[in-house]
Symmetry: C2
Subunit: 332 residues, 2 copies
């Protein structure tokens, strides 16, 4: 069960003498946040506004909405990062999962018997479980490595788009164990490191080898690049979410692609969805700079490339090889 760090919210409100706060969270936490908002209003006499737009990651902070709604603080709940604060108003609030990995770790043992050096990684809500998992595996005679954090990432943590703590240790380990029920993240680990990766699901207590999914994603990603080779009309999408805005990257890509005689238009969007993209009848290929996973995981009617795919496309035009285009510490 996910437990929101309410204590810190109460502390921050009191410390800042906040009168109005906004809160946002992933969909799965919204009802808890709704109850919490009532508690805060009742006990502290403040005004709470829940920003109910989709929140997929720590890129979905709502500093701008807080400003707009004249709020003193923006509590972004459920995506812990290495920083306690960001922007002028955002406070990151942890929601940790109290589920145990004990059973699923035991279940994983026979599957990793041929691997000596184990890399461990996870996402925000299970960070605290890394230590327990490491100790267990070491007791079982394994060498366990947890990669150092970097930027917004804590030790052993990965995002959907950033993988420093696994990328940096990929040559020191034989296999990665991803702690959590998220194929999405486990696939990211495997694609960015090119290492065997198992997902340890603490809820179903199942160990899943995600290789087949990784193969599918990789093939689809590379096929999209080749399909885009002869296109003439490109649309580069700039994400409007505050943590996804990458104007400079979009402008750089535009210039590069124009050099190859292509027509390039710039389009700004909040959510990159087909219903908006398909309105542009003349555009054959979209390149979106908002979030790599929109291209790698979602299905689209037209080609929608991520930044690493776009860079691979340019490399192909330049006559270079592109095999390792996803083997990177981040895909932004």
């Amino acid at each position: 069960m996910l437990v929101i760090d309410e204590e810190r919210i109460f502390e921050e409100i009191k410390r800042r003498k906040a009168k109005r706060v906004v809160m946002n969270a992933p969909d799965g936490l919204l009802n808890k946040v709704h109850n919490l908002s009532k508690k805060l209003e009742r006990e502290l006499g403040i005004e709470v506004i829940i920003v109910a737009e989709p929140s997929y990651g720590s890129c979905d902070t709502v500093d701008e909405e807080a400003l707009k709604l004249n709020a003193d603080v923006a509590f972004h709940i459920g995506h812990k990062i290495s920083l306690p604060f960001l922007g002028k108003r955002t406070v990151f609030i942890d929601a940790y999962d109290d589920v145990s990995f004990k059973d699923v770790l035991e279940k994983a043992l026979p599957l990793i018997k041929d691997f000596k050096r184990i890399g461990l990684c996870t996402i925000s809500q299970h960070i605290h479980s890394l230590k327990e998992a490491k100790e267990f595996l070491e007791k079982m005679g394994k060498e366990v490595v947890i990669g150092k954090g970097k930027g917004q990432l804590l030790d052993g943590q990965i995002f959907g788009c950033e993988f420093y703590p696994v990328y940096s240790i990929k040559d020191e380990v034989d296999i990665f164990l991803f702690l959590g029920q998220s194929r999405f993240h486990a696939i990211g680990v495997a694609l960015s490191t090119n290492k065997p990766t198992l997902m340890l699901d603490p809820y179903l207590k199942e160990v899943e080898d995600i290789s087949p999914l990784v193969d599918e994603r990789y093939k689809r990603a590379i096929l999209s690049i080749y399909k885009a080779l002869d296109a003439k009309n490109f649309g580069i999408i700039i994400g409007l979410k505050e943590g996804q805005l990458s104007l400079l990257r979009a402008l750089q890509l535009k210039e590069k692609i124009k050099k190859f005689g292509r027509d390039v238009s710039l389009i700004a969007l909040r959510e990159v969805k087909d219903d908006r993209l398909l309105l542009f009848k003349d555009i054959e290929v979209f390149i979106q700079t908002a979030c790599p996973r929109i291209s790698l995981d979602d299905y689209h009617e037209k080609l929608v490339l991520s930044v690493p795919q776009a860079e691979a496309l340019i490399a192909l035009w330049e006559g270079k090889k592109i095999d390792d285009f996803l083997l990177k510490s981040h895909w932004l």
Copy 2:
């Protein structure tokens, strides 16, 4: 066919020595805007970014996006209002429709033979056709009234949410003729004035009596109010779009509703859609302050009241009558 006032765009760019501009428009105009963006880049050497979020009305300006994208001007295309500019960067650009109302006006004559005093109204793209229609009807022996504009509305113009030019003359006319292919707007005229209203569709050259639709909308709207009478848990939605933000109204409604012993939470959203609303399991009734038409025209699984419906609900709690709750010059 809709014709964008390109000349004014060229003029404004030159006058402001703009280097980067953003443009947004209703979906139906996006391909024209896309072509225009290429022309502007080619001929003026500037950078154009198309903001491709949905644009339903003059509330969907993108001043904030222009700031975010470091653009000098935000051209909002297709919703002419009484002001040429708004905010720090927004320039309203007209897209007028060159279709003729001659045929459909003739077709309307037998249907209005029992009405002496005719009120004329329309939307942005047909404003220039009001004069021609007035002259034609006067030649046919009718008394024709075009209501004065107010606020952002030009003479004879209506929005989906504001109706001054028809509301102010409702007692001087026997019937309204709405020029345009938009049941949505014609329904607004009828509901806000309680007058017979015909829609004159210049494309299909059909005259439509929209009374049945008006009855349906009115009944549905009033039924929703009565259904909300005994609810305990309310959610008040604040629209995050720059032209829909109504924080004060939301706060006022919250205080009023709390006085009747109800639980009220504040929720901020950009697009008010069921997939977001249904996440809040405990909320029985939503009141949204973003756009009245979201409540009156769209279908929702839970109750989603507009501001006039919410005010009617409060009136009912106070023991007052509410028959005329939509008979207003605006629904905001």
